[in-house]
Symmetry: C2
Subunit: 377 residues, 2 copies
């Protein structure tokens, strides 16, 4: 384990001493807690999965925004990191000479040029492009920069048609840029039962994009895809690199898709603050710590692993209302009781807090700063 | 205007010089901007509305979490502030000897007791209660503290039945606490056409709670209600205090309800980052700067005031997809163009950023720290 994170308290000889130490360093509810044992198991499992298939792993760190977690991913064998913004890249540049892909169509205004030149000196930077405007702006700001062409595999968000990837790659070369390949995001794989066909669409789009590169006389060493739900359906030989993010922590959304269950490493620790209205209890965890993400296929605003049958029916900023009609009456909590809630979406929940409370198997708690929190640009 | 906020740049003699100064100090997109002229007009309008009806105004500052805005509200005549958490109360205690209501059923564990005693020394603190457990915990932590009883007026979230308010008030007195009255939140007034009946329910609940206090032999000097949509329907004589929050900034949610239009003071400044997929453009403002709040009655993930007909149809963390099918083709933007988006919910959007960019009528930009950001406990 890395030694750069100063422990808040060290593991004690006895269980009760460890519990006492944990209680001393635990913040007031609501706060976000990471189960370090599950986190490390999740990281190892995805790494082994990719290794067995000869696929490079470049985890998306927008999920956790946290250096101790990225360090664990790199130590486990990840070839580099994926970020969404230049600000996130700056935060993770603290890790040293690491490879960072900005997996996003980067457009640089005059102010961004200086930031990106500084970044290029510190890390091995790869910038996403999906337009000629983007290529021109990057070439002007950082002559000779390395770029990767984004293609669309059916999500219809960003990325050019795979058949157009060759022309864009050629334009990048004409502007003096280095092009290392193509990438896509099969985001349509979210939702129950969608992942397998999304992985097939990803494989098809990357193959067509690589063919377009070949037709333009360009090499295409990297064909990058992936997301947490589609990773298990990846077709070896079609993808050279995967960029899942959520897998390290997981969330109620992944659980609802059947992707995660025993590997939920992130939870909000909350307290019951009211039982004044019959048929429910109210906790201090609302959308300011859980985020308001709620896809239609997720049953509630978060999942209560210790209260089977309870449904998190309504949410405000600082109030979460949990319906107790499906809950064993012996489990009805009282004001002041602690409640554990798994957020629907790990990435947006983590983005709300300045630190994560990491719980080690010994019971020791450690504070991990969410260094890249709010780095939207 | 207060002088404690150091200006980033000062107003220039010519328009172009002012614009240049503004450009120098504007951060990279996406960022949240406050129109100071509209903000101050909104504050003055709500204050005048309350003053004309003999109602005290105690704005909820969880909306903006920002000292320069709270200072303007107090200078305009607000009798104090409402917050949701002890952490927010600590942040606003920086304003000096101000009256702060924690409009929330406060439950104090051992750790919170020291924090609240410190707060009680610095500000005129009032704590919400809706349970005997809460009363006992407060009485133990801060003997003689001032509390206010929360009653439910139909939202069925927190607060006791109005008829039970007297018993709870009496219990507080028995525990040596000072009780200044009752409060309620007519949150069912959100949604088009709901505000008037919610205001009536609020008036009814507060009257019944005050009667329950009288029957228990208790005075009830404060009957506090209010929210931004219900404020205009308030019944004078039934409510002694209003606690709206959003009115200072407003948002797309208030606009959808017909509550705000020319008084939208908050917007995200975004950039177009992709037009690769036909029929849409993609901006760099996603749920990490706009928040994911989307009530059913709001048409899209944010409102684009400068692009009538455009609909913000899909959102991810760093991507916002805007459908252009209803937009005049002459208005189709290009990569790099600036786009203004009014968030659906001001409170959760502001909670995502460390600072607001305040735009003064002169064009000067000033940075306002979001001091109480993330103070969830």
């Amino acid at each position: 384990m890395p030694s750069a994170e100063p422990p808040v308290s060290t593991a004690s000889a006895t269980e009760s001493a460890a519990a006492a130490a944990a209680a001393r360093s635990a913040p007031a509810t609501p706060y976000l807690q990471v189960d370090v044992e599950r986190l490390e198991r999740n990281i190892a499992t995805m790494q082994a999965f990719c290794h067995a298939r000869g696929i490079a792993l470049r985890p998306h760190v927008k999920t956790h925004k946290c250096l101790p977690i990225a360090r664990r991913q790199l130590e486990a064998g990840a070839i580099g990191l994926t970020v969404a913004t230049l600000g996130e890249a700056h935060a993770f540049a603290e890790l040293g000479q690491v490879s960072i892909l900005v997996g996003y169509p980067v457009f640089l205004d005059a102010g961004a040029a200086a930031r990106i030149r500084d970044l290029s000196d510190r890390v091995d930077l790869i910038l996403g492009v999906d337009s000629l405007d983007g290529i021109r702006a990057i070439a002007k700001a950082v002559p000779g920069a390395r770029v990767r062409v984004e293609v669309d595999c059916g999500l219809a968000r960003t990325g050019v048609e795979p058949a157009a990837a060759g022309a864009l790659g050629l334009a990048a070369v004409d502007h003096g840029l280095e092009v290392d390949g193509v990438f896509t995001f099969p985001g349509q794989g979210y939702g129950p039962g969608n992942a397998e066909s999304a992985a097939a669409a990803e494989a098809d789009a990357l193959a067509r994009a690589a063919a377009a590169f070949a037709a333009a006389g360009l090499d295409c060493p990297v064909r990058s895809g992936g997301s947490t739900p589609t990773a298990r359906h990846v077709r070896a030989g079609t993808v050279t690199e995967l960029r899942p993010g959520v897998y390290a922590l997981n969330d109620a959304q992944q659980r609802a898709m059947g992707v995660a269950e025993d590997d939920l490493a992130l939870s909000v620790q909350a307290s019951v603050i009211s039982t004044a209205v019959a048929g429910q209890f109210v906790i201090d965890a609302g959308s300011k710590v859980l985020a308001a993400d709620r896809p239609g296929y997720v049953d509630g605003h978060g999942w209560l692993p210790d209260h089977p049958g309870a449904v998190f029916t309504r949410i405000w900023e600082h109030h979460g209302v949990v319906d107790t009609s499906g809950l064993d009456p012996r489990q009805w909590p009282a004001v002041g009781d602690r409640i554990r809630v798994v957020p629907n979406h790990a990435c947006t929940a983590v983005n709300l807090v300045d630190e994560l409370v990491a719980r080690h198997p010994s019971g020791t708690l450690e504070r991990w700063p969410v260094t890249a929190r709010g780095r939207n640009s």
